[in-house]
């Protein structure tokens, strides 16, 4: 047993987190910043954070992840990191020449109270920011929230620094896709395109963390939302934010700053969440849903109907980030499956009540916890077995110990590919999820069934 020390008996823990179901803010901010074209993320802290965040994103995407760091020393940690950041800004523009440096902070610079806004102004006054180039920032203290919070903060920073209103309403819709894969962002753009709605999506990591092999390395790949597009978000007619936690704050800021109507939806994972997204696109965009999209929806329902017997009543354990889990739970309920144990590491009161509301008739005694960890999830599983577990790569240890079919879902996935190439959002993404669920369950059935009941056709 890999996790042999995990006991079945659950004792309340107040201080010790074991096997976390979250990580810290800056990695989310780094990921969001990569979704700006020509941007170099910059970590204002000691260099270990930056190295860890780059490594984790690289393991997840099998792609180069570039970022600078202020490389704090002990001296800077005591007297402040202004000199380090000023030097970093000068060096980065001289050596690497990005269009934007997007600075985020760490627990170190937040604890000592460095004022990034003031330092960036000083850099501008001292001529360290070349003409036409930008330094933006977001405060991302690691001791608040999780990586999702960091993503939300940097996305909000994009609005703060770039969004402008010049009086002319543009015939475009802002979409904030949430902390999702480049494949998901691609799919959201495809859907909007098929609907005939012009959108600006930010951040957009497609074409950045899923680049083709060309024999050339571009530090700043083709993808990413451009600065002009970001500026124009202040003139859009509305905003759709996907994922309350990751995208809500930026959408609300656009609303309060420029009176841009915003609709905040669940991530469009699964049938009903996608329905709401499409319907929102249709209404806000004043378009009708094309047959191609309705057909995709029909194919998804067809597949569910065809294979319903293998899904019905199956118990599932889930771990991941709140926005994803809310939609995934809803989808599993749609499939007549039973999500019985649900854990996120990201704190937040609303998560538990929202989940309970979604599963209320289906799983009245659901185990759900925000600020939980995977140790607790494992203990729940020991007390009530499940047929399937869905979560990031760290789930493989539980899946192996408890011999549970397992689907990799969420962040990070460091031992397989696919998540960056194939979406889980939209009807097509949902169909892929159904396929994955069926593959996992039916492979297990094939493995476990007796010779005489081993089926050719299923």
């Amino acid at each position: 047993m890999l996790l042999r020390h995990t006991p079945k008996e659950i004792k309340e823990r107040e201080a010790l987190v074991v096997n976390p179901a979250k990580t810290c803010q800056p990695i989310g901010a780094m990921y969001a910043a990569l979704g700006i074209h020509g941007c170099l993320p910059h970590s204002h802290g000691s260099q270990g954070c930056c190295s860890y965040h780059r490594s984790t994103l690289t393991r997840h995407y099998k792609e180069p992840i570039m970022a600078g760091t202020s490389s704090f020393t002990e001296g800077a940690s005591v007297f402040g990191g202004q000199a380090n950041l000023l030097e970093a800004i000068h060096n980065i523009f001289t050596i690497y020449n990005p269009d934007v440096i997007a600075v985020h902070t760490t627990c170190l610079s937040e604890t000592i109270g460095d004022d990034i806004h003031q330092i960036a102004n000083k850099a501008r006054e001292e001529g360290k920011i070349p003409k036409g180039k930008f330094v933006i920032h977001a405060s991302t203290p690691s001791y608040v929230g999780s990586h999702v919070t960091g993503f939300a903060n940097m996305t909000k920073g994009m609005v703060e620094y770039f969004a402008e209103k010049n009086g002319t309403k543009l015939n475009q819709l802002n979409i904030i896709p949430g902390f999702v894969e480049p494949s998901d962002m691609r799919e959201i753009k495809r859907i909007a395109n098929a609907m005939g709605v012009k959108i600006v999506m930010f951040p957009d990591t497609s074409g950045v963390v899923d680049t083709p092999q060309t024999g050339k390395f571009n530090m700043f790949p083709k993808g990413g939302v451009t600065i002009n597009e970001l500026k124009s978000t202040g003139n859009s007619f509305a905003t759709i934010a996907l994922g309350q936690l990751a995208s809500g704050p930026a959408a609300k800021l656009l609303d309060s700053k420029f009176k841009i109507q915003c609709e905040i939806h669940s991530l469009p994972i699964g049938l009903t969440a996608t329905d709401r997204f499409i319907d929102s696109l249709r209404k806000l965009g004043g378009v009708s849903v094309p047959d191609s999209i309705s057909d995709e929806r029909g194919r998804l329902i067809d597949a569910i109907a065809d294979m319903h017997q293998y899904l019905y009543g199956k118990k599932v354990a889930l771990v991941g980030d709140p926005d994803q889990l809310v939609s995934l739970t809803e989808f599993l309920v749609t499939l007549d499956m039973k999500p019985v144990h649900i854990v996120t590491g990201t704190p937040g009161q609303k998560f538990e009540s929202r989940i309970k509301e979604i599963v209320k008739d289906k799983v009245p005694n659901v185990n759900v916890k925000a600020s939980g960890d995977m140790f607790l999830l494992h203990q729940w599983i020991k007390n009530e077995k499940v047929d399937l577990i869905m979560g990031n790569t760290y789930c493989k240890y539980i899946a192996r110990d408890e011999d549970i079919p397992y689907i990799r879902f969420g962040f990070p996935i460091m031992d397989r590919i696919g998540h960056s190439y194939f979406p889980t959002v939209g009807y097509m993404g949902s169909l892929r999820l159904v396929e994955k669920i069926l593959d996992a369950l039916m492979d297990r059935k094939d493995r476990d069934s007796k010779e005489e009941s081993f089926e050719l056709v299923m």
């Binding site: 996790l3 004792k11 074991v18 490594s55 570039m66 950041l85 050596i95 092999q213």
Partner: protein, 541 residues
């Protein structure tokens, strides 16, 4: 352009050219054109100095060097990270320190990540209370024989005293609890964390158990972390030779073996950078001599085994070692010759932590490949130039606060392992104690040695030399491969291995052969990019 025609001084110039002048001046001292003079004298390199902000370094921090590297591989200590969640999360199973408990029910906490998950409240009011509670909860849940506490950046700033908490909880729980002040901002790299880990292990664990070892030829292996099973392979070889491994620091290790490690008669040091402190301190306190060994490369492995046998000087051991070497090398040779026929003349570059950039050059040499450039992230001058220059190292302001323990001979337990005559005899035979010659004397003239290489310099080197393979880590790998050049990870081994010892050499030859002769690089250009002329008429008429 062939490698021979490249003007090395021009290359160095090219690497530095785009830098602001202040940066260029500094990098000039960290980029050295190698030249080995008589008596292995090499040029001076600047190393172990602060990282230039914004240059895109590959370096990590002190916490990584302490918790991630040195203590991470020990299976039965509950290692609690005191800090916000990130540090613990990122060091959770990401270094491939394999471990194999003797019994299936033995303690093994390697798959777990323990953290106090500091919140804003603890930053404001202090985190000692939560830490104490976390230690108590860890004890109640797991009843380990020891708990380690690792400080992260904010801990030092807010003034939490992890050592006081450790002392208090040690008394309360009756198990060994010890803290590490390995805040990420200390020193300039992972290196400070090695030193801090060495100090605390030495202070709190080494020497707690005086039980004499049962075997013959008692050796500790220091600075071997069992990445991809390296230590397993070395354990196999040692056992075959009849050498008793008392403790490994710290691959496949456990607490009890550390506690008993001072009973060994020889310390064999693999990774000089990370563990030379323990080697030095054990010699001072207990009288255990140390030697540098290298089990990367078949020839180096043979040489290191002979060195250990020579130290003990028993004919029985010397004969056995020769027998094992002969048997093992026969197997290795077959693969080596075959791989060499496809790899000979190809070129490599190595930029890895603080040790492997040197040792792996031996493996490349064995299959006829030439090393054009090499460097470390965080090694010190002695790792580059050899320990003879130690008296000339000045500790700068950034590293001055790393504690140096004042170690004296243990009144009861200090025991010289060799008489003065024996030592003199070994010295006469050319045997070197407590010495390491460094990487540069073993590299060819006009190769490049680069400390703390930046992303910019990496890209330039690749463009100029187009080596057949580049060895580095996960952050560099995919950018390099986008340029059509394979990158071998020499931290994680790309999830393969072992690469140490004789079986490891065979694995490495095969992996390099696969990579430098892979088909995939031939297909990077699409057919229509290779010959873009249009032949068809559709749409024209």
């Amino acid at each position: 352009m062939s490698v021979e025609k490249i003007d090395i001084a021009e290359v160095k110039n090219e690497l530095i050219k785009g830098y602001p002048s202040k940066v260029a001046r500094k990098r000039d001292k960290q980029i050295v054109i190698n030249k080995v003079e008589d008596d292995s004298v090499v040029p001076e390199i600047q190393a172990n100095v602060r990282t230039i902000p914004g240059i895109i370094t590959q370096r990590g921090c002190t916490y990584a060097g302490c918790k991630g590297v040195v203590l991470g591989p020990t299976r039965d200590i509950v290692n609690i990270t005191h800090g916000p969640i990130g540090c613990g999360f990122y060091s959770w199973l990401t270094r491939r320190n394999q471990t194999r408990p003797e019994n299936p029910n033995d303690e093994n906490f390697m798959m777990y990540c323990f953290s106090t998950d500091m919140q804003e409240e603890e930053i404001v009011f202090g985190g000692e209370k939560k830490l104490k509670k976390a230690v108590q909860e860890a004890y109640d849940l797991f009843h380990p024989k020891a708990i380690g506490i690792f400080s992260t950046c904010p801990v030092g700033l807010i003034g939490d005293d992890v050592h006081a908490v450790a002392r208090e909880m040690k008394e309360k729980l009756g198990i060994n609890v010890f803290g590490f002040s390995c805040e990420g901002y200390k020193g300039v790299s992972q290196s400070a964390g090695h030193h801090i880990a060495n100090n605390q292990l030495f202070k709190h664990v080494v020497g707690l158990d005086d039980t004499p070892p049962k075997g013959k030829y008692n050796v500790n292996l220091l600075g071997e972390y069992n990445i991809g099973g390296d230590a397993f392979e070395l354990e196999r070889i040692f056992e075959k030779c009849g050498i008793n491994l008392v403790a490994t620091f710290s691959g496949n290790s456990n607490y009890d073996k550390f506690a008993n490690s001072h009973t060994a008669d020889l310390n064999a040091v693999m990774c000089h950078r990370s563990i030379n402190y323990v080697a030095e301190m054990m010699e001072k306190k207990f009288g255990i001599p140390w030697i540098k060994v290298n089990f990367i490369g078949a020839e180096s492995s043979a040489k290191s085994l002979r060195k250990i046998a020579q130290y003990f000087g028993d004919k029985e051991l010397i004969d056995k070692v020769e027998e094992v070497i002969k048997e093992e090398l026969e197997k290795v040779d077959k693969v080596m010759q075959d791989v060499k026929s496809r790899c000979s003349g190809k070129t490599a570059m190595l930029f890895v932590g603080g040790s492997r950039a040197h040792h792996y050059q031996d493996l490349f040499r064995e299959i006829g490949m030439k090393t054009l450039a090499a460097g470390y992230e965080f090694a010190h001058r002695d790792d580059y130039e050899g320990r003879r220059m130690l008296p000339h190292i000045r500790v700068d302001a950034d590293s001055r606060n790393i504690e140096e323990l004042d170690v004296v001979a243990d009144e009861k337990r200090f025991k010289p392992r060799k008489t003065d005559e024996e030592l003199a005899k070994l010295a006469k035979e050319g045997f070197d104690f407590k010495d390491y010659y460094g990487m540069m004397p073993e590299m060819e003239n006009d190769t490049l040695v680069i400390d703390d290489i930046s992303e910019h310099e990496t890209q330039k080197l690749l463009e100029i030399y187009k080596p057949d393979i580049f060895c580095a880590g996960i952050k560099e790998k995919y950018g390099i491969q986008k340029m059509g050049i394979p990158c071998k990870q020499l931290h994680s081994y790309d999830y393969g291995g072992p690469y140490a010892g004789f079986a490891g050499a065979i694995n490495f030859y095969n992996d390099i052969d696969r990579m430098v002769n892979s088909n995939v690089w031939k297909y990077v250009k699409a057919p229509w990019q290779a010959s873009p002329e249009l032949m068809g008429k559709f749409g024209i008429e």
